[in-house]
């Protein structure tokens, strides 16, 4: 099996302006892609796929990661079909289960309907792919969205990075999956459509996989792919205990670090000892969906943690020098001007955590957008949300709410600019600011 990472090839061969244009197009902030740029993308894609094809190649398989991959996949797949008509095409990835065009059709169905691929696999691919290769096309999830979640993640083999040219990746690190699904059902998130149940792997196997991949690659930085690494507090604690223990027994492992997405929980659940264990085990960064500093907004989101929980979490992270990336959302449908003012107040309140690298990064994203298949998309009537006639499809940036009429897209962009300016003034670090502002500009230009 050979693989091509088209993201890597495109990012390395497009200039920053072209990459930004592609990003805005994929993020649904801009509805068109310049013809010249598309021709360049097509040429790069064809060249790199062709270079990996030989007389033994039978199947071209595409992993289409997320909702942001749908637009570009919808152009690359037909292109590939035209250029490699003799090969069998197979598609998988989370994006296949996403609704498109505001209809009931999901992307995998469109792929089959348009003839862009001969087969698709919905949901988790590990077991289904094995059945597909054995010719068993009736296995759940193959060509029909009747996929079943894998119950026992411990039965899957360890990730294997041998044969990959990892030197080509910036910030070299290995990915590790500790769980799938989430213990929450946040209104803005569609993860439950992919993994309805939260499933996690045993702590001992995680540490064993880290050890194996460290010895095979020499890379000691691990990043969890999980929606949250502490979904099971008990298992997370065990993982940290075992990793720390493994380092004590084998000094070669002492440089191992990990990072991952994390959920803010109550102090009675995430007790202080767990934060200490994270420090001892080598936790180097956690990404936390705070989303809003306003408690009532977070409870509407179903985040289920209080302002006191945030303070406790930050206090513990300060105590053990655990850097956080805070993911934030500007313009949630019930956000008022008072909430926005409170956001600005909290930026000032938490400034010291930014200075001391406990809030290592703030990620403001663009502005609130409503995906199909999220709980929020089913609450639109209750929230008085009108998606309007905006021609952006799945990610609806341009909604209005008759219950919160002041919160127009224009107002959301204004608030987004204000948090950017204050965050910068207060010294918070913010990745990809220019790219996000460029996408915001594209959104502003598209305002009617």
């Amino acid at each position: 099996m050979k693989h091509v990472d088209l993201n890597l090839e495109l990012q390395s061969q497009l200039d920053s302006h072209e990459w930004q244009q592609l990003l805005s197009y994929c993020e649904l902030a801009k509805d068109t892609l310049d013809d010249h740029l598309w021709n360049k993308i097509a040429a790069i894609s064809i060249k790199h796929v062709r270079s990996h094809i030989d007389e033994y190649t039978a199947i071209l398989a595409f992993s289409i990661f997320s909702i942001y991959s749908i637009r570009i996949a919808g152009r690359i797949l037909p292109l590939m079909r035209d250029h490699f008509p003799d090969l069998s095409f197979l598609c998988g990835g989370n994006a296949l289960s996403s609704s498109i065009d505001g209809s009931k059709q999901i992307f995998g169905e469109k792929i089959l309907h348009e003839g862009w691929a001969h087969n698709v696999i919905y949901g988790e691919g590990e077991v289904a792919l094995k059945h597909f290769l054995q010719g068993d096309l009736l296995h759940p999830g193959i060509n029909v969205a009747n996929n079943q979640q894998i119950e026992d993640l411990d039965s899957l083999p360890f990730a294997d990075y041998r044969g990959m040219d990892l030197d080509r990746y910036s910030g070299k690190r290995l990915l590790l999956t500790g769980s799938r699904g989430c213990v929450r059902d946040c209104t803005f998130c569609d993860i439950a459509t992919v993994w309805p149940k939260f499933r996690y792997r045993s702590a001992a196997l995680l540490v064993e996989e880290m050890r194996k991949n460290f010895y095979e690659t020499g890379i000691d930085r691990f990043e969890f792919t999980d929606s949250l690494i502490n979904g099971s507090t008990k298992n997370f604690r065990k993982f940290n205990e075992l990793l720390y223990d493994a380092k004590q027994k084998d000094p070669a492992l002492s440089g191992i670090t990990y990072s991952g997405q994390f959920i803010c929980k109550q102090s009675t659940n995430m007790v202080p000892e767990i934060y200490e264990l994270m420090h001892l085990a080598g936790c180097k960064q956690i990404t936390v969906g705070i989303e809003s500093f306003s408690e009532h907004i977070r409870f509407h989101m179903r985040k289920k943690f209080t302002n006191a929980d945030i303070d406790y979490h930050l206090e513990q992270c300060a105590k053990w020098a655990l850097p956080n990336v805070f993911l934030m959302i500007i313009g949630y449908p019930i956000e008022t001007s008072e909430d926005h003012a409170y956001t600005l107040d909290c930026l000032r309140k938490y400034q010291r955590f930014g200075q001391m690298d406990v809030i290592s990064y703030l990620r403001w994203g663009l502005t609130m957008h409503i995906y199909e298949d999220t709980p929020l998309s089913k609450m639109m009537d209750d929230l008085g949300i009108d998606a309007g006639i905006h021609n952006v499809r799945d990610g609806l940036y341009a909604w209005n709410s008759i219950l919160n009429p002041g919160l127009t897209l224009q107002e959301r962009i204004k608030r987004r600019l204000e948090v950017h300016e204050l965050s910068y003034e207060l010294g918070y670090k913010m990745p990809m600011v220019n790219a996000e502002l460029m996408s915001l500009k594209a959104l502003a230009e598209g305002l009617s």
Binding site: A318, I413, M432, S448
Partner: protein, 145 residues
């Protein structure tokens, strides 16, 4: 008043000086939290069994500090640093300088790379102004039609 906390299993006693004047001293059993005045701070440590060379965990106002970023000089028997009103800003600036020094040579001038991987971006003042202008134009157009 700011606080400094020291933590090491061998720590038995300490003496804290600010600008050469003894401010506090005392015995402790592995950890202690004391007032931290402004000035040139020296903290002398007495470890168990005169086991010199211990480096305690140091927390200032509850933050576990990186001694390099905090500008703390560590010796066998003591550590010293400047504690002033701008301590936290200096810590942040040292962190940024440290991050920039770790950027691979080929990316040193690549603002996009540094922004993406290290979160260090400019204010983007021009871009913000451009967006505001667009919003204003759209608003004017909307109001006039």
């Amino acid at each position: 008043m700011h606080k400094i906390a020291l933590e090491h299993p061998s720590l038995t006693s300490f003496t804290l000086y600010a600008d050469g004047a003894k401010i506090s001293e005392g015995r402790c059993c592995g950890s202690i939290e004391i007032d931290l005045p402004r000035g040139e701070i020296e903290v002398w440590l007495n470890p168990m069994d005169k086991n010199w060379g211990i480096v305690p965990r140091i927390r200032i106002d509850g933050f576990l500090v990186n001694t390099y970023l905090a500008g703390i000089d560590v010796f066998d028997h003591m550590f010293k640093f400047i504690f002033a009103d701008d301590f936290f800003w200096r810590y942040a600036n040292m962190n940024v300088a440290s991050i920039l020094s770790s950027v691979p040579a080929q990316y040193r001038d690549d603002e996009g790379y540094i922004s993406k991987y290290f979160g260090l971006s400019g204010a983007n003042t021009d871009l913000v102004r451009d967006i505001r202008l667009i919003l204003d134009e759209k608003s004017d157009f909307h109001n006039n039609t």
